[in-house]
């Protein structure tokens, strides 16, 4: 066991954890933030995606020791009032069905748009191909990313 001060969504969480414990379980079970989901445990599905220093990372395979001293953002930190452009677009396009993978999808989309405010279909494929949605919301995810890009463009004008 070791002690870590984790910066999650702008707050500091002091946790005692086995250094090899994946960040996913630290976020869910020690920090108590349940929006980040377990899907596969081997970085294949993307349900556990969070931002580390703004980049999308699979928290299910990242040991907590590697996440210390980094800036971690989870779905709860994107906005808790659904005002982030990606959340707005996800609601406007009615993307979610079961919703389980959507935290990861949204975090990946938010990271993509931050780096690339006007992504092509190919850019969207590249950024989102690591995310599985069994409900098959992919066509709407594509539309919603484009809609979010427009929302962001309007906001910056």
């Amino acid at each position: 066991m070791a002690s870590y001060n984790l910066s999650i969504n702008g707050k500091t969480y002091k946790v005692e954890a086995d250094p090899k414990m994946p960040l996913l379980w630290v976020i869910r079970d020690l920090a108590g933030l349940h929006g980040t989901k377990y899907g596969c445990g081997m970085a294949q599905c993307g349900a556990c995606t969070v931002h580390i220093n703004g980049n999308p990372v699979r928290s299910c395979t990242l040991p907590v020791a590697s996440a210390a001293k980094q800036t971690i953002t989870t779905i709860e930190g994107l906005s808790d009032d659904n005002t982030h452009a990606v959340q707005k677009a996800w609601l406007a396009e009615q993307v979610p069905q079961c919703g389980y993978c959507q935290s990861g999808q949204i975090m990946a989309a938010a990271a993509l748009l931050k780096k690339n405010p006007n992504p092509t279909d190919q850019d969207i494929d590249t950024a989102m191909v690591g995310h599985i949605c069994r409900c098959g919301t992919y066509p709407r995810i594509r539309k919603a990313i484009k809609a979010a890009a427009q929302i962001m463009a309007k906001a910056s004008n």
Partner: protein, 722 residues
């Protein structure tokens, strides 16, 4: 009529959330504006504050309406459409109401099994009536209060209004008196043209919670003092535990106990060893250190090749006939133009994004269960039966489901935590890893079909289908009647075909296998549809007819003809390009016919790609067209996966694909443009969640035949290798 429920009140969860600090929910206050901060409340709070008017509806004195959703929400939209139906007749807006999941209570809510695409078609009359009944009680209470005739009063947007005098009273002021009235019988329902919200593409009420992480799924249930359990189960289905060594496991910090345990697999049992710990991580680490010796000598160790050889051998046997007309055997024997084909379909995992999990707390003779559950009433019956308790002593609560597709209507994963909680005298959450979820089944059964048909004067003279595959029904009994035919061999086949094809026969040969199998989105239709609609295309080709015109000849009812007219217009079938690959298929299951057209082409590398899918569903009277579109889009994507990407194989009696590295899933780059259209008519409501799945695979393979001349009869196939 007060609904304060002692079992609900007993609940005392603390959500360890750093963000909200709020109590845990099975209810959600729907904000009137999507971006308004989400209010989370307990179902307990809503129910205690409100006064129950009918089983589904309670209203508090401020006029706040709570509507219960008695079905599970696994993505298919019950959280929206159940309230949408009730609110229409209750005359309330869907903005600013509470929606909560009803616990399992079949005597109150009727069937709560969320399967067979039944939420709307199975319950719409009851739900419309419950809304109208409550409305009439509120109107009657207002009329009494004002001493006027209730005929002069009407309800609108949460108020009762006296038309001549213009007096108004909110539902909150009326609910106490209304609840004392005897609910009227035979209330008048609105005509369809009077609907204000039914039929509108209103945004889903659950989605605000699904874009910010606040929707609660099974794994998000946290109880004070809860132990986490992971279970090393026998990797061979129905296998037992011989012995285990937990010495290393018990040294892992946080591990509390290691126990041999069991779970029902239909009429059998499967044993495993549970590691219980104070955190999930400790339980997972403890499990890694566990050594188990299995007893599975009696389990047949099949591999996939053996299974399919067995099915093909079975096809040589006489079929158990489900349905026949004319003299198909005799006609086929004598026919000059005949076609024969064998179609193969794979075993498939449900692979819900949320792996299985369930939480239970057994206290004396009371049991409470929380989880992603498709059938709360079945689970209540199952647990009370196994523990010999009254059903009222077993409370089953549904969370949101991270996918279901049939898997979460099974009773294995719900019984495991009950047994462990009883043993530990503490709440227990059993968590299945992805590997557990993918390797334990039950699976969609693979099946092999033999189709035979004959053509006479460009028309079908005979159509025969024989299915060899596991009969799901045989698993529920240790000694099933294996002389009984499978009642689902005609699933997916359009009923009208039976009227227009003179000679036909459908039957099966049940294949023996130890693999547990179960409903998988659209069930038998998901494989039948591939065989039958591929074969229909082969017959059209043999007859030298256009596959669209060919099918039209056999679908001589006004409903199907209208559908085909619309489909022809949508696909621009007659003017499709000469060098484009187009295929169609039409199937019908769970009350809704669906036609799909697929367009394929060759990409720059000469590989076949799916360019577009056009779907037309006829689900009759409907509630929310956008949810219908969502469901058909999703069903098509799932079908693309099962047709061209994934399959569960078996080796030495165990599943080979354990995670998404091997069980590849359709991803964003595998999905083409999808157009979904809905027929407008006044037919009875049909299912929505499943019927869009079966036509995709045959339409795709028919399109590939159209493009390349190559007939694909075995799923899954690799598009790159066509």
């Amino acid at each position: 009529m007060q609904t304060t429920d002692k079992n609900l009140s007993r609940r005392n969860f603390i959500r360890l959330s750093g963000m909200t600090g709020a109590a845990l929910t099975i209810g959600y206050a729907v904000p009137s504006i999507a971006n308004e901060a989400v209010e989370i409340f307990t179902a307990q709070k809503a129910v205690e504050q409100g006064i129950e008017l009918t089983a589904w509806i309670s209203i508090d004195k401020t006029g706040k309406v709570t509507i219960l959703n008695h079905r599970s929400e696994m993505g298919q939209g019950s959280f929206q459409v159940v309230p949408q139906m009730i609110a229409e007749e209750l005359e309330v807006s869907l903005d600013n109401i509470n929606i909560a999941f009803a616990p399992g209570h079949p005597s109150k809510f009727g069937s709560q099994v969320t399967g067979g695409s039944s939420t709307v078609r199975g319950a719409y009359k009851t739900l419309l009536q419950t809304g109208a009944t409550a409305r009439e009680m509120l109107i009657e209470a207002a009329a009494k209060k004002w001493d006027v005739s209730k005929k002069d009063c009407y309800a609108e947007n949460g108020f009762v209004i006296h038309k001549p005098g213009g007096k108004r009273s909110g539902y909150g002021e009326l609910v106490e008196e209304a609840a004392k009235l005897t609910p009227p019988k035979d209330v008048k329902l609105k005509r369809r043209e009077e609907y204000k919200i039914i039929g509108k593409p209103l945004p889903r009420q659950d989605n605000p919670f699904k874009v910010n992480g606040t929707a609660e799924f099974g794994l998000d249930v946290k109880l004070p003092g809860m132990l986490y359990a992971v279970i090393e189960r026998n990797p061979r289905f129905k296998g037992k535990v011989k012995s285990f060594d937990d010495s290393a496991t018990m040294k892992v910090a946080g591990v509390k106990k290691v126990l041999k345990t069991t779970a029902p697999v239909f009429a059998h049992e499967r044993e495993g060893v549970a590691v219980l710990a104070d955190s999930l991580w400790a339980a997972l680490e403890g499990r890694k250190a566990l050594k188990v010796e299995w007893d599975d000598m009696r389990i047949e160790r099949l591999n996939t090749d053996q299974l399919y050889s067995r099915m093909k051998e079975d096809l040589k046997k006489h079929a158990l006939s489900q349905r026949s007309g004319g003299n198909a055997d005799g006609i086929f024997e004598r026919a000059e133009n005949k076609v024969e084909a064998i179609y193969e379909t794979p075993y498939e995992a449900h692979a819900c994004m949320e792996p299985l999990t369930c939480t239970a707390y057994v206290q004396g003779d009371k049991v409470e269960v929380w989880g992603p559950i498709q059938a709360p009433d079945w689970i209540q019956r199952d647990i009370s039966g196994r523990l010999k308790l009254n059903p009222e002593n077993v409370k089953v609560n549904m969370t949101f489901l991270g996918g279901g597709f049939g898997r979460k209507a099974f009773m294995d994963y719900t019984y495991e935590p009950v047994l462990l909680s009883k043993e530990m005298n503490a709440p227990v959450q059993v968590v299945w890893t992805r590997e557990d979820d993918m390797t334990q089944g039950p699976y969609r059964p693979g099946a092999v079909y033999e189709c035979k048909g004959s053509i006479d004067s460009e028309r079908i003279n005979s159509f025969q289908a024989k299915m060899a595959g596991q009969n799901m029904d045989h698993q529920w009994s240790p000694n099933p009647d294996k002389t009984a035919f499978n009642t689902n061999t005609t699933e997916g086949f359009l009923e009208t075909y039976f009227e227009s094809i003179p000679n036909y026969s459908f039957g099966d040969v049940p294949t023996e296998s130890p693999i547990p199998v179960m409903w998988w989105r659209s069930v038998y239709s998901s494989t039948n549809g591939f065989a039958y609609e591929s074969f229909m295309d082969e017959l059209a080709h043999e007859a030298g007819k256009d596959p669209f015109d060919f099918r039209r000849d056999y679908l001589q009812s006004d409903r199907y003809q209208a559908m085909l007219d619309k489909f022809e217009e949508l696909t621009k079938w007659k003017s499709r390009g000469k060098n484009e690959g187009w295929g169609i298929a039409i199937t019908e299951c769970f009350g809704s016919p669906v036609a799909e057209a697929v367009k394929v082409s060759k990409n720059a590398n000469g590989k076949v790609q799916i360019d577009k899918v056009i779907a037309l569903i006829d689900c009759g009277w409907y509630v929310n067209p956008d949810i219908i579109r969502q469901q058909v889009e999703g069903a098509i994507t799932m079908a693309i996966g099962a047709a061209t990407i994934h399959e569960t194989h078996f080796n030495d009696g165990m599943a080979t694909e354990k995670n998404f590295d091997k069980y590849k899933m359709p991803r964003i780059n595998n999905v083409p443009e999808i157009e979904v259209h809905i027929m407008e008519n006044n037919e009875l409501p049909g299912g929505v969640g499943e019927p869009g799945l079966p036509p995709l695979a045959p339409a795709l393979c028919n399109a590939i035949f159209d493009l390349t001349g190559k007939r694909i009869r075995k799923l899954p196939f690799n598009l790159d290798e066509v």
